[in-house]
């Protein structure tokens, strides 16, 4: 009996020792340095995700051509985060298991609220490339983002609308209520409208990102005869709403949220896309050196100008690479084990400033981006009504 207990104690002790050491041993860094990207390759968000994937792939190519991290190449490992929370969580888990140093993603704020806590708990730095809802960096100390929050970006479009038509008064707001980002963005717009003495909020209409028939909402909007309509939705539903609203005879200005900030709305609302005003955290026309490099690289492959989603995803990888390079100068990154390097990287990201395609950026103590340059673009459709461009307002 006694012997039995001893054996059990020894076994238990041995297991504990193994566990303790095991967790400290970790995995040594491998070459090339793995950087995770959990982005939406499929689902209805794929329209945005594809642009981000181009961004991270271009960054991988660009920074590797510049010598990677002190001579060590980087490799972007992609996992599909699709359009829902469960897929984002799966993608994060897969990347953490693959020992990535940091994760760029996920595509939607809604997914970030579900998946980021996992990475934060595992102490893996996360850089949100397009999560602009309120509260993202506050998820945890390992969560940062390069996408300026809607509260800062969105009101710039309202200003542009007022500049275009100073007589503006009556405003209608529509948003996709089943999506965290669009809801949060719309609240920002609504607060900005309420705060402005010149404006009155005529009606607030809600819809779903899966809707196609907006007859009820458009009819309600037309009833209040607005001079400005503000729409927070994704490309397919938002574009469709714009189309149905214009077809129903709405002639005033339209401000779109970040979800409409993609050329993928062009085939949806076609000629009716013309004139939509959208605030931008990025302009392909900006003169920053890194932006010129990105634009050249992008144009060579895709024969057009990159959009905000591409630029932000590119920037996320840049931040990781440059922070790793700074660490590398003190101690070779390949000598770290993964867990140590992740912690060092997180510290470095928060403390450093970066010259990016989005202009000079840095992060506050929460991991919120501090960005200086913002823009407003207007959609101008070509004569064939199939293609168009985002024309930046001066």
């Amino acid at each position: 009996m006694l012997a039995n207990r001893n054996v059990r104690q020894i076994a238990l002790g041995g297991a504990l020792v193994l566990l303790t050491f095991g967790s400290h041993l970790g995995a040594a860094m491998t070459e090339p340095l793995p950087i995770g990207a959990a982005l939406s390759q499929t689902s209805n968000v794929a329209l945005l995700g594809q642009e981000q994937i181009i961004g991270v792939r271009l960054a991988e190519e660009y920074f590797n051509s510049k010598g990677g991290v002190g001579g060590t190449k980087i490799q972007v490992i992609l996992e599909d985060s699709a359009g829902d929370e469960a897929s984002a969580i799966n993608a994060f888990n897969a990347l953490i298991r693959k020992n990535v140093v940091a994760i760029v993603g996920p595509t939607l704020s809604q997914q970030a609220f579900a998946a980021d806590p996992l990475a934060d708990k595992a102490k893996v730095p996360v850089l949100g490339p397009s999560n602009t809802a309120k509260g993202i960096p506050q998820i945890g100390p390992f969560v940062t983002r390069v996408s300026a929050p809607v509260a800062i970006v969105a009101p710039h479009a309202l200003e542009a609308a007022l500049k275009r038509n100073p007589q503006l008064k009556n405003v209608a707001v529509l948003y996709a209520q089943n999506d965290a980002f669009n809801t949060s963005e719309s609240m920002t717009f609504q607060e900005a409208v309420k705060a402005d003495k010149r404006l009155t909020l005529g009606t607030i209409q809600k819809f779903q990102t899966t809707d196609t028939d907006f007859t009820t909402q458009a009819s309600e909007v037309m009833k209040v005869k607005p001079d400005l309509v503000i729409i927070s939705g994704l490309a397919a539903d938002g574009g469709n709403l714009v189309k149905q609203l214009r077809q129903l005879g709405y002639k005033g200005l339209i401000v779109g949220g970040n979800g409409l900030n993609t050329p993928n709305v062009f085939p949806v609302c076609q000629k009716y896309c013309d004139g939509i005003l959208i605030a931008q955290a990025y302009s392909p026309e900006a003169g920053d050196a890194m932006n010129k490099a990105l634009v050249e690289l992008y144009q060579k492959k895709h024969k057009k100008m990159p959009g905000q989603f591409t630029a932000q995803a590119f920037t996320a990888v840049q931040v990781i690479v440059e922070a790793l390079s700074a660490i590398d100068q003190k101690k070779k990154v390949t000598t770290y084990d993964v867990k140590e390097l992740r912690q060092e990287l997180n510290k470095q990201i928060l403390g450093q400033s970066f010259q990016t395609a989005l202009g000079p950026i840095s992060f506050d103590k929460d991991g919120e981006i501090v960005q200086k340059s913002f823009y407003v673009a207007e959609i101008k459709m070509d004569a064939d009504n199939k293609n168009g461009k985002f024309s930046f307002l001066k």
């Binding site: 329209l47 809600k206 028939d213 009820t216 077809q247 129903l248 005879g249 199939k386």
Partner: protein
């Protein structure tokens, strides 16, 4: 109020058109053809491809052709193809079961299988992306129709008028033509009908073809009015169609029409703030109606066929 009525009738008339296909098959065979929703999606995609010249774009690479049909021609081709498709579905998914005098449940499973195969074939071909009709191909339709305070998009008015005309024509056809009489005779009793010299099999195939044509027409109308949100929209629409015929009374031709219009009106009456829940509201009301009148609004007989 009038605005809601108009909006509701417009979408409701397509529901009616679509559900009529279900009702026809049900009245004849006493079974539900689940593939109707998939044929609806096939019709929408086919018309889209024929007008835009774009095929594929999912796993099948996008193939742009120069062959672009005018909208009406494309819709007509799609109608004929879907009628043939539906007749084929009858031949392969229904007829073998009918010959074996199989349980009604087996028809349901068999047609559900066809629906899933068709929808996945569309997914393979076109992917899950939203598709939109080229606005230029619809330029013959006025964009906006105003009448006092009432305003409706031209396309919605077209949907309403086309659907109502087709519905009226079909109701007249069933009531007064030989085909209609044959159909009603077969529905009453197949053996007796065949003794009377009515070609039972041909009548059944014809009915399937007609329901396929109706599905294609409804698909084309909905897709032009709004958009094609992906191959699965046929299944959701199929579910709504089912609600419509249950509401109107299974297998009742005029019940399907009434049920469709009613469902559209109920959906349109849901306040805009709750439009996200309009399907839930519609189905909840359906449930209520069934509690009070289990045979549906116009259903006369108890549902022994189920």
């Amino acid at each position: 109020m009038l605005q809601i009525l108009l909006n509701g009738l417009s979408i409701g008339s397509v529901y009616a058109l679509f559900a009529l296909g279900y009702a026809l098959v049900f009245s004849l065979l006493g079974v539900i053809n689940f593939a109707q929703g998939a044929v609806f999606a096939v019709g929408a995609y086919l018309t889209w491809s024929l007008t835009t010249g774009s095929w594929g774009g999912g796993q099948v690479p996008l193939w742009e052709t120069e062959m672009r049909l005018p909208f009406l021609a494309a819709a007509a081709v799609s109608l004929v193809v879907c009628a043939a498709l539906s007749a084929l579905i009858e031949r392969f998914a229904f007829e073998p079961l009918r010959r074996r005098k199989a349980e009604p449940l087996l028809y349901l499973v068999s047609s559900l299988g066809v629906a899933i195969v068709l929808v996945n074939a569309l997914l393979l071909m076109y992917g899950a992306e939203t598709r939109n009709f080229d606005l230029d191909t619809l330029s013959f339709i006025p964009v906006l129709v105003e009448w006092g305070d009432l305003r409706v998009r031209g396309i919605q008015l077209v949907i309403l008028v086309v659907s109502l005309l087709v519905l009226a024509a079909l109701l007249l056809l069933f009531r007064f033509s030989m085909v209609g009489k044959a159909l009603r005779a077969v529905a009453e009793n197949q053996t007796t009908a065949s003794l009377l010299g009515i070609p039972v099999h041909r009548t059944i195939v014809l009915t399937f073809a007609l329901s396929g044509a109706l599905a294609s027409l409804a698909g084309t109308l909905v897709a032009t009015g709004f958009s094609i949100p992906g191959p699965h929209f046929g299944l959701l629409f199929g579910l709504k169609g089912l609600a419509v015929i249950v509401l109107g009374g299974m297998g009742e031709i005029s019940g399907a029409v009434l049920g469709g219009l009613l469902l559209g009106l109920i959906e349109a009456a849901v306040p805009a703030e709750y439009s996200g829940y309009k399907e839930a509201v519609a189905f909840a009301l359906l449930f209520l109606v069934l509690m009070v009148r289990p045979q549906g609004l116009l259903g006369r007989r108890p549902l022994e066929k189920l």
